[in-house]
């Protein structure tokens, strides 16, 4: 069985026996009573300390787009078409993220859930993943 690993450390916890979904790692500032993502070195509002907090695995779609081509003006680049979005979590955090799905799958305000997006494999055959969001389905 393929093992899933995080492509980058420090952004999310992989699913485990207790938590079937990945969980984003945010920062919480007790002084400001605010959460942030990705993690901050200190509170950007009060400059006080922050602590790591796992964030909610569900949110609401704030905006989306379907990136059809990597062209920007006359510049070109590789890459397959894919969705990009921003998802608002209950903690007040807006997460910029890849979206699973295709053009037409998304509407602003729809419920979204966190998922894993395989990006590549390492030399040992492990699947390296980053986080993404997709539309919430029945049964989620």
């Amino acid at each position: 069985m393929t093992t899933k690993l995080a492509l980058e450390d420090g952004y999310f916890h992989l699913p485990d026996a207790e938590h079937p979904r990945p969980r984003l790692i945010g920062s919480y500032s007790a002084d400001a009573d605010e959460h942030f993502f990705p993690r901050r070195k200190r509170c950007p509002i009060t400059f006080g300390p922050v602590e790591d907090r796992p964030l909610s695995t569900e949110g609401v779609l704030y905006s989306w787009t379907w990136l059809q081509t990597m062209k920007y003006g006359t510049m070109t680049g590789g890459g397959e078409p894919h969705g990009i979005g921003q998802v608002d979590l209950p903690e007040g955090v807006r997460v910029q993220t890849r979206l699973l799905g295709a053009m037409g799958d998304w509407e602003i305000g729809m419920p979204m859930v966190l998922d894993l997006l395989p990006v590549t494999t390492d030399d040992d055959g492990n699947e390296l993943c980053t986080y993404c969001f997709r539309a919430k389905r029945e049964g989620d």
């Binding site: 787009t65 990136l67 059809q68 003006g73 006359t74 997460v95 993220t97």
Partner: protein
């Protein structure tokens, strides 16, 4: 801060294009054009601020030798898309602060074609070093980032793709009046044509995207005594820099830290509020405006954030043609980032070039009648907002 007695005495450009023209040649031409415009020689320039993002760190001071070896202070300024604006700000502050009587801001960058030939860091190059690796926090493609703004705006205010296309078509057509613009359409560009071009990131088509090329632009500022000498010698009216403002992000609810291209739109509101206060003018006093219109949704939102109209009323301005040359408050009169192009280092200085020409009454076919006060706004990824207000004295 308000600026006391800082004036633009000379401006110059090299055409923006996708051609692989050596940066050295473009920078020299723009600089010499500005010196000629001011009727001065390089030995009058006490401080030179070079704005560029694609060259080697020592390129600016090396290129300065082409103007002469005078011992002038030479500094490299880099602030993403706001690089040219930031170089201009440094020049204005050096004169306003009494550190130089005359300072020059020179923006230049290579086209992607030239970078392919000669290497270079490219847009966003080197960002990985911040994290020690390529990261999900790297800059998101601007076409996608601003598409998120565009889709949200359609949801909140009912903006249509035709409105976005109308802004882009306007700027393409303004560029037709600017011989230095990258995009030179041979016909009047229509909304339908913009909508029919290649889809990049919904709702953005390729004709809505800023043109990316190379080029150079230059502006020279001086104190009042020198500006009056230049005025008397050249006949150019005095153009005063009323204020220079630069702000970075403040925390806002739902703040996006991840891979942000530019910060929350409110950054433009807070920077322009400070600019109006320092300059002693308001949005109703403006005769023309330049903005960071990398995509049309930006220009639309900036109508409102700069206080040109109320929130949610920007679409109406477009429908009325108010922001076209000949309209109530023309935006992007030289074609903006979409039409004139966005070579990055020169972009903010190209805005100053057009604004000065407009305030002097020398803008030819794109002249805004009776223009006396102009505002130039740029965003720099990361992000910062830079605003200058210029006025014919």
């Amino acid at each position: 801060m308000a600026l006391d007695d800082v004036y633009v005495i000379g401006v110059g450009m090299h055409r923006i294009s996708g051609e692989p023209i050596p940066v050295r040649d473009m920078a020299y031409e723009a600089g010499v054009n500005a010196l000629r415009d001011a009727g001065i020689e390089f030995d009058a320039v006490e401080s030179l601020y070079n704005g560029y993002i694609t060259g080697a760190p020592m390129m600016g001071v090396t290129l300065a030798k082409d103007f002469g070896l005078t011992g002038a202070s030479v500094t490299h300024v880099e602030n993403a898309s706001a690089t040219g604006s930031s170089a201009f700000r440094e020049a204005a502050l050096s004169v306003g602060g009494g550190h130089a009587r005359c300072a020059m801001a020179l923006g230049f960058d290579a086209s992607p074609a030239a970078m392919m030939q000669g290497g270079g860091r490219g847009m966003g190059g080197g960002f990985a070093s911040m994290f020690g690796r390529p990261s999900v926090e790297s800059v998101l493609l601007p076409a996608a980032f601003f598409a998120l703004w565009a889709v949200r705006r359609m949801h909140e205010a009912g903006t249509t793709v035709e409105t976005y296309a109308a802004i882009a078509a306007k700027n393409w057509n303004h560029a037709r009046l600017n011989p230095y613009a990258q995009r030179q359409a041979d016909h009047d560009v229509t909304v339908e044509e913009v909508l029919a071009s290649t889809m990049i990131a919904y709702p953005h088509t390729s004709m809505m995207a800023a043109a990316v090329g190379g080029g150079a632009a230059c502006a020279i500022v001086a104190d009042r005594a020198m500006a009056e000498q230049v005025r008397d010698a050249t006949g150019h009216p005095l153009v005063r820099v009323l204020t220079s403002q630069l702000q970075s992000e403040r925390y806002t609810p739902g703040h996006v830290f991840m891979g942000a291209v530019v910060g929350p739109p409110e950054l433009t509101r807070s920077t322009s509020t400070a600019a109006y206060e320092a300059a002693g003018v308001g949005p109703a006093d403006l005769d023309l405006v330049h903005v960071h219109d990398a995509f049309p949704v930006e220009e639309l939102l900036y109508y409102e954030l700069l206080g040109i109209c109320g929130d949610g009323e920007g679409d109406k301005l477009v429908a009325e043609g108010a922001t076209s040359i000949g309209g109530r408050i023309p935006f992007s009169t030289d074609g903006g980032l979409i039409g004139r192009g966005h070579p990055v280092g020169p972009t903010g200085l190209a805005q100053i070039w057009d604004t000065v020409q407009q305030l002097r009454g020398e803008a030819g076919a794109r002249q805004v009648e009776g223009a006396r006060t102009g505002l130039a706004h740029m965003m720099g990824a990361g992000s910062v907002c830079v605003i200058h207000i210029l006025q014919r004295a």
